[in-house]
């Protein structure tokens, strides 16, 4: 397998609306920053992979318009897989390089959720019109069910979930691109209005506009271009069944466990707690970070809720999660997964805005659909896992 690495990361500022720029202008801003970060130019790029989720942007197939800023005249491919879009776009770009067909490939994701009156009715069109659509299923409602089941099964408390929010909000203060920047405490979270019981406002992500670009290069090119690329150790994606009601147990995210197991096997990871230094997890709702920590082997089943409360997942803790502030503070849906990969890459390059000391291996994760999809990518400052 041809080795590849991340050689450049660029993001725009994420806001509720980015009325100052058009779709391609946002794309261009992210791509330009990533090219600058890598120290290369548009001429050095062989192909583009574009990710976005239709139709959040008020435009159908906005990739066609945005390609004027990235890809015009070159091979250009559009990926869309729901919430995992950002990360599957990164995975597809990595595969472009790994196949040997291309040496330098840009993955770029732009999303303007602010063009939508409400994202949830759009998401509702994804579910089956006969069995599930009428129940109003969207992202928040399924996360609320996960929270309720987890609380009932494992005794997870609202205070414990609130700690996840406190941690992410504290981290976001250091991230210049983060959308929500607000110092909050556990009491603020608990007293914020209920959005979908038991989830409260500060336990739910915002809807963000913005763009992110990540540049991949072959081993040879990566070494020519920079001293400290983020090497791709492994990637994995998974699809579960379509109907939420078909999932055996919503208190565990078993499909993520399976994807994680495959990823760890590919990368040679025995103990994720020891081998992985930092994780950028797709947790737009507090409960989901808890489920993800358990599914990915960072906590025993039912124990994930203790990690934020005990400080383990804070940036100076033993297993820092979302030092960027995570999805809870910034969620440009179809771009969010690529932000996770970009931030994970910056961590192992030692250039993150909220750097975890000595981070050598970082995990990026995204979920999508109504809890149906997961995508994972593992990056490292070394070409192979070092213990």
């Amino acid at each position: 397998m041809r080795r590849a690495a991340v050689i450049g990361v660029g993001q725009t500022k994420f806001r509720t609306r980015r009325d100052d720029k058009t779709h391609p202008e946002l794309t261009r801003e992210a791509v330009s920053r990533a090219l600058e970060h890598a120290g290369i130019t548009m001429d050095d790029v062989d192909a583009f992979v574009f990710g976005t989720m239709d139709p959040f942007d008020g435009i159908n197939c906005p990739d066609r318009w945005s390609s004027t800023a990235a890809g015009f005249g070159k091979p250009f491919m559009k990926i869309s897989t729901g919430g995992t879009t950002g990360l599957t776009t990164g995975i597809a770009a990595y595969q472009h390089v790994a196949s040997g067909l291309f040496d330098v490939v840009v993955a770029v994701c732009t999303q303007r959720v602010g063009e939508n009156v409400d994202a949830q009715p759009v998401l509702n069109t994804a579910v089956d019109p006969i069995y599930e659509r009428h129940s109003g299923v969207g992202a928040i409602s399924v996360a609320a069910i996960q929270a309720t089941v987890h609380m009932q099964k494992y005794g997870t408390t609202e205070e414990q979930m609130a700690w996840v929010s406190v941690k992410d909000h504290e981290n976001a203060l250091k991230n210049p691109y983060a959308h929500i920047k607000k110092k909050i405490g556990v009491e603020d979270v608990l007293s914020s209005p209920v959005v979908s019981s038991p989830l409260k406002l500060y336990e739910c992500c915002p809807r963000s506009d913005g763009s992110v670009a990540v540049i991949f290069a072959s081993e040879e090119k990566a070494e020519q271009i920079r001293d400290d690329p983020a090497w791709i150790l492994a990637e994995s994606s998974i699809s579960d069944s379509y109907f939420v009601g078909d999932r055996p147990d919503l208190a565990v995210w078993d499909s993520l466990s399976i994807a994680g197991r495959r990823l760890y096997r590919l990368a040679g990871i025995d103990d994720p707690k020891k081998d992985i230094d930092v994780a950028e997890l797709y947790s737009p709702f507090t409960i989901q970070e808890i489920l993800e920590l358990e599914a990915l082997g960072f906590a025993e089943k039912g124990e994930g809720a203790k990690l934020a409360e005990e400080g383990v997942t804070f940036v100076d803790g033993d297993m820092p999660t979302n030092p960027s502030g995570g999805v809870l503070c910034t969620n440009p849906i179809g771009a969010t997964g690529l932000v996770r990969l970009g931030e994970a890459s910056l961590q192992v390059m030692g250039e993150a805005s909220n750097q975890v000391d000595g981070a050598e291996v970082a995990l990026a994760h995204a979920w999508g659909g109504t809890l149906q999809f997961h995508a994972l990518m593992l990056v490292s400052s070394h070409k192979k896992l070092r213990r």
């Binding site: 397998m1 239709d54 599957t88 994804a126 379509y242």
Partner: protein, 359 residues
């Protein structure tokens, strides 16, 4: 290491009223049966098709499990599924995967496609013009027709021949034969395109199973090899382009020929996504089968184009290109040595992808 097609599954193309995941399932099942394989032998699923055009968002949610993706690695290209085949090729070529299920889907009866496509116009320059998807193809047709003086009869003849071929192709949607007079006397819809010169909106799915060389030979003693792939993108702003030529197709073709190490002369079968008869000619020229403006001369010859009837007879937005690739694969299975398939997407054929298959 080569990558080959070892299984082909095509559903009926027309209007499907049953839950659409059943149609996707049918294609996947047929491909597995064709390859004499079981679902567990597939290690990843690559889907291709649009959202919105099928009346929903994240449309890979309902097609992934139907394509055999349950608890498998899965990804979706949101474009013509011919791109999904290219991605599946790269996933196998890299050594990451061994066997891929590529599934393309189009479900045009679910939505007013032209209304949906109007929303792909940017809100500043194009949207107020209200240019429909088909109008953009008509503008190209007109520019090409005027530049090279293409007669109405030549365009009509393309349709007549397409229908004749479709009448013999079991998977084609529109299979009634028509005469040149029928075409020329049909209603003018968008100048210069008459009703019979426009493609139908179809529903259907196509599944192709791709495998790494050694495994492919185990599955099927005569796999159909993917020899070349190329794709490219033109300027979104139609006003900044030469509408009389398909430049993204030309560039995609050059990339595919380079990869396959061949040229147009060695190609024995051609499947092109002719959303209008003029695009049929323009694509043949862009792929090197005729000089610019001379595509019409091929029509009178026995040039082996679109034995499926092409997009003029079957057009399931999102999988039209892969439908053509599947027919090309069937032709290679029947004895043809090398063929090329082509797909376009976006307004005025902004994006193009070319696939070369061989023995």
């Amino acid at each position: 290491m080569k990558v080959g097609i070892v299984g082909i599954g095509i559903t009926h193309f027309g209007v499907h009223e049953e839950p659409f995941y059943n149609v996707a399932y049918t294609a996947a099942r047929k491909a597995l049966e064709d390859a004499e394989m079981e679902r567990h032998e597939i290690d990843n699923v690559v889907l291709g098709g649009y959202d919105v055009s099928v009346g929903r968002t994240i449309s890979n949610m309902y097609t992934a499990p139907a394509a055999g993706g349950y608890l498998k690695d899965e990804i979706r290209v949101s474009d013509d599924a011919a791109y999904a085949l290219a991605l599946a090729y790269m996933r196998i070529k890299s050594g990451i995967f061994d066997v891929a299920m590529v599934l393309g889907y189009g479900h045009c009866s679910e939505t007013p496609i032209e209304l949906v496509e109007l929303l792909s116009l940017d809100p500043f320059f194009h949207r107020d013009l209200g240019i429909s998807y088909q109008m953009s193809y008509a503008m190209q047709s007109y520019a090409y027709k005027m530049k090279y003086g293409v007669e109405d009869e030549t365009a009509a003849e393309v349709v007549v021949r397409a229908r004749k071929r479709a009448s013999k192709y079991e998977y084609a949607h529109v299979r009634e034969e028509v005469s040149v007079d029928d075409v020329l006397s049909s209603e003018m819809v968008i100048f210069p395109l008459r009703k019979l010169e426009l493609p139908p909106w179809s529903d259907g799915c196509v599944a192709l199973i791709l495998a790494e060389e050694t495994i492919a030979r185990r599955i099927n003693p005569e796999p159909i090899w993917v020899e070349g792939l190329g794709w490219n993108t033109e300027n979104y702003y139609m006003g900044s382009r030469d509408l009389a030529e398909l430049s993204s197709t030309r560039k995609a073709g050059e990339m595919a020929y380079r990869m396959a190490g061949c040229d147009a002369k060695s190609v024995e079968a051609v499947e092109i996504m002719d959303l209008t008869p003029y695009h049929h000619l323009m694509a043949l020229e862009a792929l090197g089968f005729a000089a610019d403006g001379k595509g019409g001369e091929l029509i009178e010859s026995d040039f082996p184009t679109n034995s499926s009837g092409g997009a003029l007879c079957t057009n399931a937005h999102g999988t039209t290109g892969l439908f053509l690739t599947a027919n090309l694969a069937l032709q290679i299975r029947d004895g043809c040595d090398r063929g090329i398939s082509h797909a376009v997407s976006g307004y005025a054929a902004q994006n193009s992808i070319v696939t070369i298959l061989g023995v």
